[in-house]
Amino acid sequence: MTYQINGIEFSETPQAGQCLRTFLRQLGHFGVKKGCDAGDCGACTVLIDGEPVHSCLIPAFRADDHAITTIEGLAPAGGAHPMQQAFLDAQAFQCGFCTAGMILTCASLNQAQRQDLGSALKGNICRCTGYRAIEDALQGKTNVEQAEAGTAFGRSLPAPAGPQVVRGSERYTFDVAMEGTLHLKMLRSPHPHARIIAIDKRAALAVPGVQTVLTHEDAPQRLFSTARHEKQWMDPDDTRVLDPVVRFIGQKVAAVIAETEAAAEEGCRRLKVDYEILPAVVDPLQAIAPGAPVIHTDKTAEHRVSNAPRNIVAETHGEFGDVARALASAAVTYQGTFTTQRVQHAALETHGGLAWVDASGILNVRSSTQVPFLTRRALADIFDLAPDKVRVFCERVGGGFGGKQEMFVEDILALAALKTGRPVKFELTREEQFISTSTRHPMQVTVKAGADKDGRLTALQLDVLSNTGAYGNHAGPVLFHAVGECISVYNCPNKKVDAVAAYTNTVPSGAFRGYGLPQTIFAVEAAIDELARQLGIDPFDMRRRNVVKPGDPMLAPPGSEYHDVHYGSYGLDQCLDLVERAMAEPGPKLELSPDWLTGDGIALTMIDTVPPAGHFADCTIALRGDGGFELTVGTAEFGNGTATVHRQIAATALATTVDRINLRQSDTANGGHDTGAYGSAGTFVAGRATMAAAENLARDLIALGAQIAGADPASCALKDEAVICGRQILSFAELARSARGNGRTLSASGSSEGSPRSVAFNVQGFRIALNKATGEIRILRSVHAADAGKVANPMQCRGQVEGGVAQSLGATLYEEMVIDDGGRVTNPKFRDYHLPSFADIPRTEVYFADTTDSIGPMGAKSMSESPYNPVAAALGNAIANATGIRFTSVPFKPDRLWPALHEKFGLKG
C-alpha cells in the first residue's frame, strides 16, 4: 500500500485491524497523540485529503492512496502555519498534549464553524486551559510579552517549549522509539476481592512473541505505597508490585511481556487464573461498620494503617473549646451533610513509560510522572538497588493534576526490564486509567456551624468520611489537609473535627488537585452562607467578619505539629473586594422566560503554599562559554508552567533574557534532589532554589568582574548580561572566557526546604440561571480573584486559574465515575464520563490581589491547585440563592436537581 504522509510517500502495509494513529506513530509521526483511543478527545486529529478526522477511528488501510497531513506537516519545515503561530501568540496550551489535534481542527474550521465554536470544538478536549486561550488564538489575540534583560519576572513570557508544542515535535513520554522494545500488558482482576490460588501461564507463554509472564511469585514482596511523598511515613505500606490478594476490580494480577502489544494482549486473554473469591465491601460506611469484610487483614499499625480490622486507614479527631455548648447557645445554627463524587484527573496522556537497563547496568525509567526523584527512591528500595543504579526521568508530561504523584507503572516496568534485559514499554489504555489508577477521594462531610446575632462564628464542626478505595495512597495526608485550611481560615473559638478514611474494595483514591479541600469547602462555605442567610447578612460581609487576618492564629483541631505557616502576605481582603466589585458590574441584559431563576454565590479558600514536613529542591546554574546559562532543576513540567517561571527567575537575578537560559529538568541523572511537582511547589519551593542558585552565581560573577576590573565588588552590579564596574563593562561571555583561562567554571547551586510556608487565597463568584422546569444551569458570570503574591507570569497564572476553575466546573456539573454495587466502574470512557468541552465552560474574569510575599521567590506564591477549590461551593451557593434549595451533592446535573425543583415549584412537564 502507498501512503502519502506530509508529502512523502510511504510504502508500508498496516496490520489488518490497525488504526491510522498507531500506523502514523509507527512511521515516526509522534505529533499524532493518543488521548482516549476512542474518538472522543481529538488529540489524534490528522487531515486526510485536507479534511480533519480522528485517526484513532480510521482503519489504516483506508488511508491507502490518500494524502495525510499530521501536525508535523502542517507547515513547511522550519515554518509555522498561521494557526500554529496563533497558538504561540496566544499561548493556547498548557501541557500541550491536545494541541496538535486542536490546531489541526481549528485550522480546518470554516467561517460558520468559527461562529459556533461550542459545536465545532466538541470533539477536542483540553484538560488544562479552560479554553479561553484557545478562543484567543482563534481570534488572533497576542497574549505574550517580551522582556528586556533582567526584567523577566512578572512578565507574560511564553513557555520555552511552545514552538515544539505547536509543531508536534515536543517529546512526551511515549514519543520515542527504542530498538528491540518489548510491550507489557496487564491482566487485571475481575473481582473486587479475591485471593489468587494459581495462575496457569502455559497457554500465554505459547503465544508467538510472548517473552515472559510475571506474577506475584516473580515480584518483590516488599510493601510500599504508590503515593510518593518526601516522608515515607505519610502513607501506609499496603501495596505490592504484584499481590497474591486482589482488592479491587482492575488491580494488577499478571504482566505479559511480548514483542508486540497484540501478542501481549493475546497472552493476557490466555492466562488462566484460579481465584478464591473473598467477601467485598464497596460502601465506606459499611466498610467501617463492625463485621464488615476486612480488606487488609495482614496490615497493622506497623504498616501505618490506623485500624485495619475496621478498614480505617487513617483518622484524626480533635476539639478546641466546646462545640456542643456553643451550638446550643448560638443565635443561628446550620447542619448539613455534603457528598462529593469520585472524579478522575483525566490527564490526556495516560500513565506509562519505558524502562531499560543500560550498558553500565543502570536501570533507566522514562515515565509520565510528577515525581521522578521520589520514584527513583521507591524503585531503589523495592528492588534493593543503589540509588545511583536507578535513573528516573521525564521529558514533557501530558497533564498530571496530582494523578502522577504516584508510582503506578514504574515498579512493574522496572521488574519487566530487569527480568527480560530488554527495553519494555507500558502505556495504559484510557479504560485502565479509569479502573486502575487513582481518583479524587469521594467524601461525605457533615458540617455543623453556629454564629451569634452579629454574624460571628461560634462553632464549626466537621465530620468527614473519606473513601480511599482499596489502597491507602494519600489517604491520610488528603484527609488531614481536607480538615485544615477550610476551617483554619475562619476565626471561631469552638472547632471540632472527626475524620476517617476508609478502605473499600474499589479503585484507589489518591492525590488530586486541591488535595481534599474542595470536598470539605463545599460543606463549610455552604454553612457560612446558610448562617448569613438566616441572619440577613450579605455573604461577603459574613466572611469579612470571620476570616483570619494577619496576626490571627490559623487553627484547625487537633492542631498541627508544624508551626511554620506564616502570613508571608495577605490578600484575602482584596480578593473579596475584587469579586464583590466585579459581580456588581452590570452584565448584559438577558431576556429570560419565567422558568429561569437567577442567583449569585461565592466561596473562598485558603491554602498553605507548600505541603507540610519538608519539600526539597536543589538547583544548579552554570555560566556557558557564550555567556548564556545552563539551569538544572529537578521539578517536572506537565503544563503547570514552571519551566517558564524558572527561566524568568534566573534571568531576572542574572540580568539576562530568558532565551539565554537553557533549562534541563526532571531527571535524577542530573543530580541533586527534588521532592517533586506537587502541592503547588513548582514555583514556591523549586523557584526559591532557582533564585538562590542564580543569586549565588550572580555574586560569583560580580566577584570575578570586580577582580578583573580591580574594583570593589560592592561598587559592581549586573546589568544587560554584563558586570558593570564603574566604567568597565565585562560581558558574561568575557567572564566565561576569563574563568576558563583560569581553569574555572562558574556555577552555583541553590536549595530550598519548603519551610517556612505562606498562605495563598482565592475567591470565586458565580451568577447563574437555573431552569426550574428542566434543571439546566447556565453560568452567566464567573469571577475569580487570586492572591498569588507577586505574580511571576500573569498570562500563565491566569491560565492556571482558568484551567482550575474549568476542571472544577467539570467536577461540579458533569463528571462522575459510577461504581456499581459489585465495585465495578461502569463508565470508564470519555463518552460516558463527560469532560468539559469548549461549550461547557464560561469565560472567567480573573483578578489578582496586589501583594508581595515575604517568603516566596521574588514575592510569588503558589497558584496551581487552589483555584479549583472554591468552585463547587460557590456554584452550590448560587443555586441556593436562585432556588432557595440547598443541594448537597455534586455533580449538579439537571436530572439530579430536577426532583427537588419539581417538588418545590410544582411545574408540569
Binding site: 485491524g17 474518538g39 484513532c56 461550542g118 464560561p842 436530572d895 408540569k908 412537564g909
Partner: protein, 289 residues
C-alpha cells in the same frame, strides 16, 4: 484503537461476493464504533466500501439513503424548496455527541444499527417514516419501518449475517411541517430526549420520541391534540419502564422532559408559523463577558 485480533479484511464488491458469515465477523461501514472499543471477539472485518452504494438517491417517491452514506453526506444534501422538513437533517446531525470530524466517517446505517436510544439518525429516519431494507443472511430481503427496526437499547431486528442496505424516506414526509426539540445533561452532549413532531398535509399530527426511550415511539393523531390528550397518550404508550436509564439521564427526568418537549412541539405546530421558536431554551451556551 487497534483491533489486534483482526486477521483479515474482506472487500466484497457485490452482494454475491459477500463472504459466508461466520462467528467473529463484523460489517465495517464507517468503523467509528468498531474502532472505538475493544473487539476481542472479532477476527474478520467485511468492508462495505467497495460495494459502492450510491450515498443518496432521489427517486419518484422516496429519498434512498444507503446504509453507508456518511452523516456528512446526508448533512450536505440540499433538497428542493418544498422539502420543508429538511432542517431536521442538520438538527439531528448536530445532536450527535460526536464532532463534525466524526460525521465524515460515521454512517447513517451504522448509527441505526448501533441502536442506541440517543442515535440521532434513528430519530431522523423514524420521524420521516423511513423504511429499512435488510439483506438477510439467507439471500432474501426484508423491509421494516425504522421505528420497528430498533427494538431496545442496542437491540434491533438484525440476525447474525443480516445487513442493512438502505433507508427509504417517503418524499411526502420531507414536505411536512416539523418541529424539533432535544435536551441533554450538558450543552452539546448526548441526547437525553429527542422529539420530532410533524404535521401532515391532511392535518394529522405525528410525534416521534427518541433519546429518552429505549426504542423509538411514534404517536399519531388525526389532528393536533389538546395538551392533556397528548400527555395522556404519552403516559399510555410509554410506561415508566420504557424510559432509558444510564449516565446520560435518569428515567424520571427523561420522562418529564419528554412530556415537556412534546408539549412545546404541540404548541409550536399548533401556532402560526411566526411563532416557531428555536429548538432549545433561550439561554444558549455559557456566558461571555
Amino acid at each position: 484503537m487497534d483491533l489486534n485480533t483482526i486477521t483479515e479484511v474482506a472487500h466484497p464488491q457485490s452482494r454475491e461476493q459477500l463472504p459466508l458469515w461466520t462467528a467473529g465477523d463484523a460489517w465495517l461501514a464507517g468503523g467509528t464504533y468498531l474502532f472505538s472499543e475493544p473487539q476481542a471477539h472479532l477476527a474478520r472485518l467485511i468492508d462495505l466500501t467497495d460495494l459502492k452504494w450510491p450515498a443518496l438517491t432521489v427517486g419518484e417517491t422516496a429519498l434512498t439513503i444507503a446504509a453507508t452514506c456518511t452523516v456528512a453526506q446526508l448533512d450536505g444534501l440540499i433538497g428542493p424548496p418544498d422539502w420543508i422538513a429538511s432542517p431536521l437533517v442538520n438538527q439531528c446531525c448536530r445532536a450527535f455527541l460526536a464532532s463534525f470530524k466524526i460525521w465524515k466517517t460515521a454512517t447513517v446505517g451504522g448509527n441505526i444499527c448501533m441502536s442506541l436510544p440517543a442515535g440521532p439518525m434513528i430519530s431522523l429516519t423514524a420521524a420521516l417514516d423511513g423504511v429499512c431494507t435488510i439483506w438477510k443472511a439467507d439471500g432474501s430481503e426484508q423491509t421494516i419501518d425504522v421505528a420497528n427496526f430498533v427494538t431496545g437499547n442496542q437491540c434491533n431486528v438484525l440476525a447474525p449475517g443480516d445487513l442493512l442496505r438502505q433507508i427509504d424516506i417517503p418524499l411526502a414526509a420531507l414536505k411536512r411541517r416539523s418541529a424539533f426539540r432535544q435536551i441533554s445533561l450538558t450543552p452539546v452532549g448526548r441526547s437525553a430526549a429527542l422529539l420530532i413532531g410533524s404535521l401532515h398535509g391532511g392535518g394529522g399530527f405525528a410525534l416521534t420520541v427518541t433519546g429518552s426511550t429505549k426504542r423509538p415511539i411514534k404517536l399519531s393523531f388525526a389532528g393536533i391534540p389538546r395538551a392533556d390528550e397528548l400527555r395522556d397518550m404519552l403516559q399510555q404508550h410509554i410506561p415508566d419502564a420504557l424510559y432509558h436509564d444510564d449516565i446520560h439521564g435518569k428515567p424520571i427526568w427523561r420522562k418529564h422532559m419528554t412530556l415537556r418537549l412534546a408539549e412545546e412541539i404541540r404548541a409550536e405546530l399548533r401556532g402560526p408559523r411566526s411563532e416557531i421558536q428555536g429548538p432549545r431554551s433561550e439561554l444558549q451556551g455559557p456566558a461571555r463577558p
